[in-house]
Amino acid sequence: MNSASPAISVHGLKKSYGEVHAVKGIDFEIQPGEVFGLLGPNGAGKTTTVEILEGLRPRTGGEVAVLGFDPDRQRQQLKDRIGVCLQATNLPEKIRVHEAMQVFASFYGRHVDLNKLLQRLQLEEKRDAFYSTLSGGQKQRLALALALINDPQLIFLDEPTTGLDPQVRVEIHSLLEELKREHRTILMTTHYIEEAERLFDRVAIVDEGRIIALDTPARLQRQSRNASSIAVTCATPFPEDRPAWAEAIHSALDCSGRTLTVNSRHPAGTLVDLVKWIDQQGLELTDVSLKQPSLEDVFIELTGKTLRE
């Protein structure tokens, strides 16, 4: 595989379970070193797509190449090269952390130094602990350690932070950023917006088995019909008579009369104009905030659904 060819290419991917069409024709390519996200509600077809690419289930139709392998026909070779962190897996209760690492290391053609991996995932203190005694975050760190055990260049992470408390989620995010810096390719699903905004180079929004939008998070947000909103607060109430600032769509005053919210497609221009006007009026500005539409807003706009319904 030369470095220019994509790590994953998917064309017209379909998957049906009898009459149920879980994936109805999906296309995308993931470049080496890219962090690519699939965002969508439960049942959108994210997990099915990921599991087809991992070689876990056969596809019904379409062309798929993962690291140059066909996941249906070159399953073993593919599995030897990728790292996977599945949703809802378990290890035996009475397995010790280092034993789990050893057993999984034995499955692969090559593996990394296990002690270093334990260190990296802050599991050294737990190396002799039974799996059943680990906290949710520690279990997830172990799952990530197992996904990295064969030093994979391509990593699949299916909702790696779901159900974890925010502190642990942040820890995992920093690990993922580290992996990103190492130029590993990551395909990840999530339904946490902030995670997608923070980690993904590109995101595909999936709904009902189709990709309905695919771009960088920032560009998706910009394309949103929803405008950004600027809120300014002054020491004294705003005058009744206000001009139309550049690019502003709509403005509204709160009941105190001191906080003004202005919606705009191009908040940068509007904000400059607005602040100039406040200055001219001799008002004393006490607070400014700018809120961009989130991916969630984009998502709701595109699908009419919330992510966690």
Binding site: N90, F104, F107
Partner: protein, 477 residues
């Protein structure tokens, strides 16, 4: 290969950390061993064979059906196999590790049970321990495979438990592992020939009581091996990593396919009946292998001496000792007491000239008589009336050889404790048993006597009889 080793090591560690594995593999058999050992007076001999075969078979069934079967379903249901699915391994190392782990866990228990039986209950070490260990190994592999195929064809824990019970209970109760086969009516004995565990019971008992080797149990060993191979192959083919993958209900028929070798063996046995015959022989041998002390009887020792009140110790079907008076404390001898005051004990009598093949006299055409059947009947009658050795002359060679082989396999007769072995008279013995006035024995003259020890004690006061006895001992092979 790395994966195989790592999974075996892991499975062993997990098993040793699991209390129920330790309980069912070690404690449970030991509890059975001691309870039944005490209750059935295993120290007297016969019961130890029953207790050992029972404990071993219960262990093998549990190890295979619960240890391999239920555990495999649990790992699937708990999403553990799902994690293995994204690694580059096939089901082979998982199945293989399960079989090997079961075996490694079980074998120390076998050694432990035999050692305890030897040390605590005085059971002699089996003549061919290696045959027993190989046979048990094959049984473990066979039953692990049955457990694994079972796991492959069920869709839930509930289903697996139901199916395990469906296999476990008949194997337990219809194999002689719990209820002795001697209690079974003939039709039920036929049913037992379709139950794989039956062959394990009769195999182990045969090895213990009759010093059988693996060769004598080749049929069940082959059937178990075939079951193991077919079972593992189909388990590999039907292997499912995730509980969400369901299998059609008709897949349960694979279980029947795996047990086909025993269906065929059972059908063959319905025809051949060697299995049932062996069961009967074992039952008789068990019945006589207890230790007992007959006390307070008048004893004709056989060398001319008469003990007015003496005791005879019988152990393992042989006279072990003759005492004047009451003899030692039966408890110290681990013997059952038979009070025989007022009765007389005689040595086995010897009929030195008789015609087994002609119970009603000679006829011009003897081929019209089913002499092989009448011979066995006459032998039984002789034995019943205290004659333990006969010398039959003038019989057809074919017939007498056939009868001899039946008797020497202990497959004929069925009346009392003592079973005649059966010898062709050697030429050099000519005249040994002959009365001065009798006619010369024929070339095919044969001597049938009880076990050599009894036969020996039963001889008359003659130096020539001593010679005859040594001749009999030499031919006892």
């Amino acid at each position: 290969m790395k994966a195989y080793k790592a999974l075996i090591a892991l499975d062993l560690k997990l098993a040793l950390r699991n209390r129920s594995v330790i309980f069912f593999n070690y404690l449970f058999p030991l509890i059975f061993f001691f309870i039944f050992g005490q209750a059935m007076h295993a120290e007297r001999g016969a019961a130890m064979t029953i207790v050992i075969s029972m404990v071993l078979i219960i262990g093998i069934l549990g190890n295979g059906l619960f240890g391999a079967g239920i555990r495999a379903v649990q790992e699937r249901e708990a999403n553990i196999l799902r994690r293995y699915k994204v690694t580059p391994i096939t089901p082979a190392p998982l199945l293989f590790a399960s079989v090997i782990t079961g075996w490694i866990l079980y074998m120390p228990n076998v050694i432990l049970i035999f050692t305890l039986a030897h040390l605590l209950y005085g059971m002699p070490w089996p003549q061919s321990m290696s045959s027993i260990l190989i046979f048990i190994t094959i049984a473990i592999v066979g039953f692990r495979a049955i457990g694994l195929i079972l796991a492959s064809v069920v869709n839930s824990m509930q289903e697996s438990q139901l199916l395990v019970q469906l296999i476990y209970l008949p194997m337990l109760f219809l194999s002689g592992a719990t209820f002795p086969l001697s209690m079974f009516p003939p039709w039920l004995l036929v049913v037992t020939q379709f139950v794989p565990a039956t062959y394990m019971v009769t195999g182990i008992q045969g090895m213990l009581l009759r010093h059988e080797g693996l060769a004598a149990n080749l049929q069940p060993a082959m059937a178990l091996l075939l079951t193991a191979f077919v079972g593992l192959f189909i388990s590999y083919k039907l292997f499912r990593w995730e509980k969400e993958e369901k299998i059609r209900a008709s897949a349960k028929l694979w279980l029947a396919a795996v047990l086909t070798p025993f269906l065929l063996l059972g059908l063959w046995q319905v025809h051949a009946r060697t299995g049932i015959a062996k069961t009967k022989v074992l039952n008789r041998q068990l019945a006589r292998s207890d230790t007992f002390l007959i006390r307070g009887a008048r004893i004709f020792v056989g060398d001319g001496k008469v003990i007015e009140s003496g005791s005879v110790l019988v152990r393992g079907g042989k006279i072990a000792e003759v005492y004047e008076g009451d003899g030692p404390d039966p408890k110290a001898l681990n013997a059952e007491t038979v009070e025989a005051a007022g009765k007389t004990i005689l040595p086995g009598l010897i009929d030195v000239h008789m015609h087994l093949g002609a119970p009603g006299g000679f006829y011009p055409d003897m081929s019209k008589y089913a002499t092989d059947k009448s011979m066995l009947r006459s032998l039984a009658a002789y034995l019943y009336s205290g004659v333990t050795t006969v010398r039959s002359v003038g019989d057809g060679l074919d017939t007498i050889l056939k009868v001899r082989s039946i008797v020497s396999r202990n497959a004929g007769l069925g009346l009392i404790h003592l079973w005649p072995a059966f010898y062709r008279c050697r030429r050099t013995w000519d005249g040994v048993f002959q009365r001065p006035s009798g006619h010369s024995p024929f070339e095919s003259g044969t001597t049938i006597h009880s076990h050599p020890h009894l036969g020996g004690r039963g001889s008359a006061t003659s130096r020539r009889i001593e010679e005859a006895r040594s001749g009999l001992h030499q031919s006892d092979s």
